[in-house]
Symmetry: C2
């Protein structure tokens, strides 16, 4: 039985640059009671996503999301089970996934993408936050609708060892492309080539290494660039775009830490000479297409073509460490925290 | 009769920032003789285009065009008449338009887009370099295929009083849009509203004026941004993109002067949250569609919906002054130099 208190992780301080564990704190609050039109979820897994870092800054609200408030639980994606409901569309026992908070119990009203989850047979439940969840679907739709990789084309994926990048890289391989991954350490480069089967991998933190690697591994230019970073990594990719290239604008890791704005690429004119397209998207635009996409991703996992690499930490108290670890660049694949409810239930 | 020498304007020095007349010099050379597969054009009008500035820098070759060489005639777009031909597809008397050089006579082999020109009835010949030529067609295809403005949408056009911008602005008005022009002086702002019928115009050189003007005149955000500038003007537009916005990447005036790279926009992540598209193109990709587009543009001119504003200087010796004037931001509309051959022939 879970405790009758709701254990949560609150934002204690606005992180200064790279987040530190001391920016967060654990607390407890009474488990909330749903009113009419609301339901309560017992949370099973928390998704650790670098993208939420940007809304931890003071005054970071941007018309898409509001800035997180100090003393409040941190905003994040959660997979949970409906534990009580006064909402006509959600029943006790339903699996749901959506943007709530780092806490063991969440009150919801069905907004914030609390999409019902159809459990995929033979696939770990936590992958509904990863390979067959928001990160995998982000890779899937970004490539399908913007990247449109054709067999034989060269696809470059940034943060290729991360949750979105590893899926994008593998889908591009399934599509018959030459795939070059960008990642932050030599160890991760080796892993991308040896374990995920990429054609090449390049460390992107040293500009000279990045430039030389792209020149070497993309002799005919870059047809598709899947961007999770922005800034000077994007600039290096733009400099090598092939004619008619597509740039999938997915994330901006370089900008998530706040502080001074990260300089943008100085060579956007390349889009003109290369007749290239750069387009952004949000996976939540595709909710109606999730089931078909999940089925295709799950099929690739079942056939061994797609590896849903995941690192799991146990207990909500691990969440600050997991989140901070992500910014130190040591992680491979999708990072999730398993809550006590999942340990009991799984 | 034109002189039997070929009067030309050569590049004397690589401009340092804004070009100066002393960066150019007049010279004379013998009129060349076409060999087999070549033809000779007697040039009638030179097109003055800021975009060519970028290839005047030392080592500016970029895979699209080579850097211009000192002591050689300056590269530019020219409208001419075939005067002698040993080329099967070009006959004496044909009108042709293409990228040759600032000179009275040019040797050509049909490459470099020396497209035949079908003279449009009732329209000044020089407009084949402007409103119904490369600049007008650039506005036409960029809006048609990338901007796709819908009636009622807000369209922002940078360098709106320039050759491309004034046509893009007017086409967007014809399409029923709310059109806001960005330009460099208050006098040009007035002209855009009073003479071209734009809904509003904003001086873009002062960042605060630009930001306040965009906030005021684009209360629902920007659906289409036609970018001829790049840099911080692009950044200001990105900050105000409406959901699903389209950014037409056409030019990069801010970068043409060389020197230190102009910082790119720091807020490309806006493309993600706004699901926006940014795409570059070159008008020369559309050669096969020129006749239909010219017919539509000419129809709008004939009906008085489109004003093909032009400033003309006489004599090849005026070319350096015309080119430098363009960078001082005093010009309205398309700038052309009429050569002696056209003064005699027109």
């Amino acid at each position: 039985m879970p405790t009758k208190m709701n254990r949560r992780i609150i934002l204690r301080a606005h992180p200064n640059g790279v987040p530190r564990e001391s920016d967060f704190a654990a607390d407890e609050a009474p488990i909330p009671e749903p009113s009419e039109g609301q339901f309560l979820t017992r949370n099973l897994f928390l998704s650790i996503d670098a993208g939420f870092r940007q809304w931890m800054n003071e005054g970071a609200g941007d018309g898409y999301l509001q800035a997180m408030a100090l003393g409040e639980p941190v905003m994040g994606l959660v997979l949970g089970e409906v534990a009580a409901s006064h909402h006509p569309q959600y029943r006790v026992g339903d699996l749901v996934m959506g943007r709530t908070r780092w806490e063991e119990w969440s009150l919801a009203d069905g907004s914030d993408y609390l999409a019902p989850v159809e459990r995929a047979a033979g696939i770990d439940l936590s992958h509904h936050l990863g390979a067959i969840g928001p990160t995998g679907l982000t890779a899937y739709f970004g490539l399908r609708d913007i990247g449109r990789p054709q067999a034989g084309e060269t696809v470059v994926v940034s943060t290729a060892a991360g949750a979105v990048g590893m899926i994008a890289s593998q889908i591009a391989k399934i599509r018959g492309c030459r795939v070059v991954g960008l990642t932050s350490t030599e160890a991760k480069c080796r892993w991308l080539v040896d374990h995920l089967g990429l054609d090449a991998a390049i460390e992107y933190r040293e500009p000279g290494v990045l430039a030389a690697g792209l020149d070497r591994h993309c002799p005919n230019g870059i047809d598709v660039y899947f961007d999770n970073v922005g800034g000077r990594v994007l600039e290096a990719a733009l400099a090598r775009l092939a004619m008619g290239a597509r740039v999938v604008m997915c994330g901006a890791l370089a900008s998530y830490e706040g502080g001074d704005p990260v300089p943008g690429p100085t060579n956007l004119f390349k889009l003109v000479t290369q007749r290239a397209t750069m387009r952004g998207f949000m996976v939540t635009d595709y909710v109606s297409e999730y089931p078909a996409a999940v089925a295709e991703l799950a099929g690739w996992i079942a056939s061994g073509q797609l590896h849903p690499v995941e690192r799991m930490l146990d207990g909500i108290e691990q969440t600050p460490r997991a989140f901070c670890e992500m910014f130190r660049g040591v992680n491979l694949g999708k990072l999730v925290v398993r809550l006590d409810a999942a340990r009991g239930a799984a």
